[in-house]
């Protein structure tokens, strides 16, 4: 192993190393990650040169790759495991620091004079907190013989809405209004009388017996909207049972209905697409 510190893996990056031998070479470990593809030592070098942001690197992916390599071997390569642990630990620490820019980092940016000042201020603050805690402890001991009733928070005072003086006759009038029978609401518009689809099945079958094709829109032009809907359902039904074929040049273009006997072996693309959409 080369000298790899827990926080400063600088020395180890990209440098030739001992211990590859027949075992797993940790540094030559081929990685295929979202952010990086190549050997492990190149990744280390890039990270340390700050050309690659560790925050983008999936460290778990590296661990998984290493474990896969490890599993491919019959025996446990302790040397490689040790080296890998040290390197990945260093990377994890670096990544954690990058993810949580902490107080220490802020301190490190200050010059020694300022840093000392800041530390002293913090220590004094903590000291104050400790003294306050000590005071509270003494106080608690001194006041320990005070017993009192404890209960839930007091009930919120209920708000009474003051009522203006009311005239009984006016109240009676309002009540009378409420007591009258409400007007009957007509539900006639809700009763949709769909003509039976079967009626159109027969009708279209008859038409197709006479003609090999017809234009759907022309055929139903005379009908009401509801009847047209039923007619359309009938056409779909017939198409499903294979009795006819539908064609439409474009959305909202006239629908052509063809007798099934004339159906081509492969219906043209547009038709099948339309059929799909209508399904």
């Amino acid at each position: 192993m080369t000298g790899v510190g827990s926080t400063e893996p600088t020395n180890s990056a990209g440098v030739g190393f001992a211990g590859a031998g027949a075992g797993i070479s940790v540094r030559e470990l081929e990685l295929d990650l979202d952010a990086f593809e190549g050997p492990f030592d190149l990744l280390l070098a890039l990270v340390l040169k700050e050309e690659l942001d560790l925050r983008d690197v999936d460290l778990a992916g590296i661990v998984a790759t290493f474990l896969e390599r490890l599993a491919e071997r019959e025996e446990l390569d302790l040397e490689a495991c040790g080296e890998f642990l040290v390197l990945i630990a260093a990377l994890l620490e670096l990544k954690a620091r990058a993810l949580f820019p902490d107080e220490n980092a802020e301190l490190a940016e200050l010059d020694p004079e300022e840093a000392a000042e800041e530390l002293a201020r913090r220590l004094a603050e903590y000291r104050r907190a400790k003294e306050a805690a000590a005071w509270l402890r003494e106080r608690l001991a001194a006041e320990g013989d005070r017993f009192f009733r404890l209960g839930p928070a007091p009930l919120a005072p209920k708000v009474e809405t003051p009522l203006a003086p009311q005239d009984p006759a006016q109240l009676g009038a309002v009540l009378r209004l409420l007591a009258t029978e409400p007007p009957q609401v007509s539900l006639r518009h809700m009763a949709l009388n769909f003509p039976p689809v079967s009626q159109f099945l027969e009708r279209f079958r008859a038409v197709l017996r006479r003609r090999s094709r017809f234009d759907f829109d022309t055929e139903v032009r005379e009908l009401t909207r509801l009847e047209q809907a039923s007619a359309f359902l009938a056409v779909l039904e017939l198409r499903r049972s294979g009795e006819l074929v539908l064609e439409q040049a474009a959305p909202f273009a006239p629908i052509r209905v063809l007798r099934s006997a004339e159906e081509k072996a492969i219906p043209d693309e547009r038709t099948s697409e339309w059929n799909l959409r209508s399904a």
Partner: protein, 199 residues
Amino acid sequence: MESPLRLVASHPLDELSRTVEALLVVASAPLSLDELAGAADAHPEQIEEALHLVGERFAEGRSGIVLEHVAGGWAFRAARAEAAACARLFERPAQRNLSQAALETLAIVAYLGPCSRPDIARIRGVAADSAVANLLERGLVAEAGRESGGGAIRYRTTPLFERIFGLESLSELPRLDDVGEDTAAIRERLETVAEKRTA
């Protein structure tokens, strides 16, 4: 109902003090002067006089019940002399076994509150999560909104804290600025260390 003055005049002080006693014995938390005045339908000044009367009657050494001014209000409690008997009958989970960490956290919240867990952690140097959770459970601290911009939840001490520690209000906490000399001493120590390192 139109003139409260007439109502007050119809409350002789003696009668009002009985009303105050009744309200305090029913209450489970200290009642403020305004709350007492509202409930007794009297002027706060009259309530103050009545409280004075009640306080004379319910004082240590004179009664098993004692009137005290605590947590921004007035409340009855047991006389200190009866603490032993009370302790045999009642537990006090809120203040039992407060750890050093909990007390330090409580002190920080009491002095600097409302403050957030990160604030507390910064001062104590360790995460404050469990200490804060402990104090929340005991009812000694409570949430007090968030830091500006939807930041961390902030905490303050509760009236229960003041009551348990026998404080009329947080302003009764002693000043802690006498540690100023220590700051200088700490600084000097740190500077010596820093010099050694650069040397």
